[in-house]
Amino acid sequence: MTHRTIGATAMAVALAAGAGQAMAQYEGETLSLFNWSQYMDPAIIEGFEDEYGVEVVENYFNSNGEMFAKLQAGGVSQYDIVVPSNYYVPRLVESGLVQPLDHERLPNLDNLMETFIDPVFDPGNEYSAAYQWGTTGLVYDREVLGDVPASWSVLFDPAVNPDAPFALPEDAQVTLGAACAWLGHGYDCTGRNALEEAARLVLETKQRDNFAGFIQGTPVLQQLVRGSVAAGMTFNGDYLFFKSEDPEGFANIEYVIPEEGAEVWVDNMMIPAEAPNPGLAHAFIDYILRAEVGAQLSNWNYYSSPNAAALPMLDEVLQQPPITPTDAEMETLTFIPSLKGDDLQFLQQVWREVESR
């Protein structure tokens, strides 16, 4: 059975479950969802729309920075749901861009795994509920690069990749994290000396003739298939998602967790402070937290589910690497630290240096 038929089955289950409840409360209203691209099963949206008699308008972002900037530039009163990564959660909370969740309206919050209840970045799930989790690793074209080590050296060491075009994401913490890991300071480095050294490395890397430019994690996959880059950084789920859509194109494209360590992240649903429709937003979050919907979501987008109740319904492919990292890999994976104040300013300054040359 393909993951799509499973999705349809789960859909039917979800519909049956919802049929008895009175959903007319939001009839005719609109929910504005601001999400990463390629992250939401259209069937889930349709299911929610049908069940509640509402319309969902989706908008997409490609980086946390972009999402944060949009919220600041008026988006705070225009979106009902945003889906930031863990290290942006405190940033959104402290800058007053999001509102607390009403747990009374989220009975399905209990479905979350223990790890995601009361996470370090949001004690008590006061503002956020986990959406999906995954890893950010190295992606490369084996046909072009040959057998290379599972290491960030593919990006940062000219000896490993002397001439094939490669890209880096334009996300300060992600790119500097990888550089930090390669330099031996760990992916979650925060020390100023380490960050400065990492920035210098990225600068040197940027000057290399075969640096193809800054390309974010999801778009870089298309560029790999088209052959315009041979290596970059991406997310495990997106990799598998596109691979399943185009097995031929991805035949030689590999995703690995570099041995120096990489990022594990969790994206979270949050409600902007002045969301036009917070009631419906709560209903949507609770809908996503349903076991069947959670499973359907993961089976569609190939990311790991934070939903304990959904685990039994997940496709087999999700139970193995690269979606479920091995224990050894788990050891090397870290969260990106959440920065603020001077530390954040420092990071942005060194990153501006990288961008300016």
Binding site: A73, R192, K206, G227, S356
Partner: protein
């Protein structure tokens, strides 16, 4: 009703809507933006009190690591890329404008339209066109690789080269049009006299054609260089982070990195450089034309 009052009413009716529009939706926002440059950046980049010159210090390159020339490079690169693109545009526009002006009158409007129409398409779409042409594996990229200009698998974009091509492409029409207008008014007798006097076409151009087309050239430079200096789209799409200009630096403070006061300070610098550039051009125009007033 007195005459004066009627005139005032008439004046209000005609001028007020437009003037108010520009005042409220351009002057006021600009003043607000300039003011923002003198605020501090909050913990997450939004402007906040107290007043501070921090953004200007940061823009000048003073940061946690001491002084660094990164932003200065960006500014210099912006000026350099603007000058290079403008020079190339002039080189292409002179023969084009001259050629059009020598065609039969009924052809000229059509030829001018042919020059202008591509600039009416959206600038994002024009860049998409060049991305198609410069991508790895296209005939043009293959040719460049064959000539040893690029590595075989790299393609011509993203690169500084692609940015310069994009700039020239975007602004060529704005040089051709005023130059054409100048050629149309050209006093041919002067040119003939110069031909009799000087043997070389270069000398003819220098002494007869150039002075007469100078006003058109100056107008063209203003129309090309000002928007080229403020370029955002072409550098972002065709540069891939390799040919960053000050417009990108400013935009990023609002669209990615989030430091509004710093971005506002950068915007102020952009306006200042633009005004200085206008002044320099005006003085240059005056000197070249022997103190004859050049309308800009």
């Amino acid at each position: 009703m007195s005459v004066l009052r009627r005139e005032t009413r008439h004046m209000l009716f005609t001028v007020a809507p437009g003037a108010l529009f520009i005042l409220v939706f351009l002057v006021l926002p600009s003043v607000y933006l300039v003011g923002m440059a003198f605020l501090s950046s909050g913990p997450y980049g939004l402007p906040t009190l107290p007043l501070s010159l921090q953004s200007f210090r940061e823009l000048a390159g003073f940061g946690f690591l001491g002084w660094s020339p990164g932003n200065l490079y960006t500014l210099i690169r912006s000026v350099w890329q603007t000058l290079l693109a403008t020079a190339l545009v002039i080189l292409l526009a002179y023969p084009a404008a001259y050629y059009i002006s020598t065609r039969p009158a009924r052809w000229r409007p059509l030829m001018l339209l042919a020059i202008v129409v591509p600039s009416w398409t959206n600038q994002v779409i024009r860049s998409v066109g060049w991305m198609n042409i410069f991508a790895p594996g296209t005939p043009v990229s293959d040719l460049a690789a064959l000539l040893g200009l690029t590595a075989p698998q790299m393609g011509l974009f993203p690169s500084q080269f692609a940015v310069i091509v994009g700039l020239v492409y975007n602004f060529l029409p704005f040089m051709v049009l005023p130059l054409y207008a100048a050629f149309e008014r050209l006093d041919t007798e002067q040119v003939e006299a110069a031909r009799d006097l000087f043997a070389s076409p270069v000398a003819v151009f220098r002494h007869a054609v150039f002075p007469q087309t100078l006003p058109g050239l100056m107008a063209g430079i203003v129309l090309v260089a000002i928007p080229a200096f403020g370029m955002y789209v072409v550098t972002e799409l065709l540069g891939g982070g390799k040919a960053t200009m000050i417009g990108n630096l400013v935009a990023r403070q609002f669209a990615q990195a989030s430091n509004w006061p710093l971005g506002a300070a950068g915007a102020m610098i952009m306006i200042a450089v633009t005004l200085i550039g206008l002044k320099v051009l005006r003085d240059l125009g005056r000197r070249l034309s022997g103190d004859r007033e050049v309308v800009l």
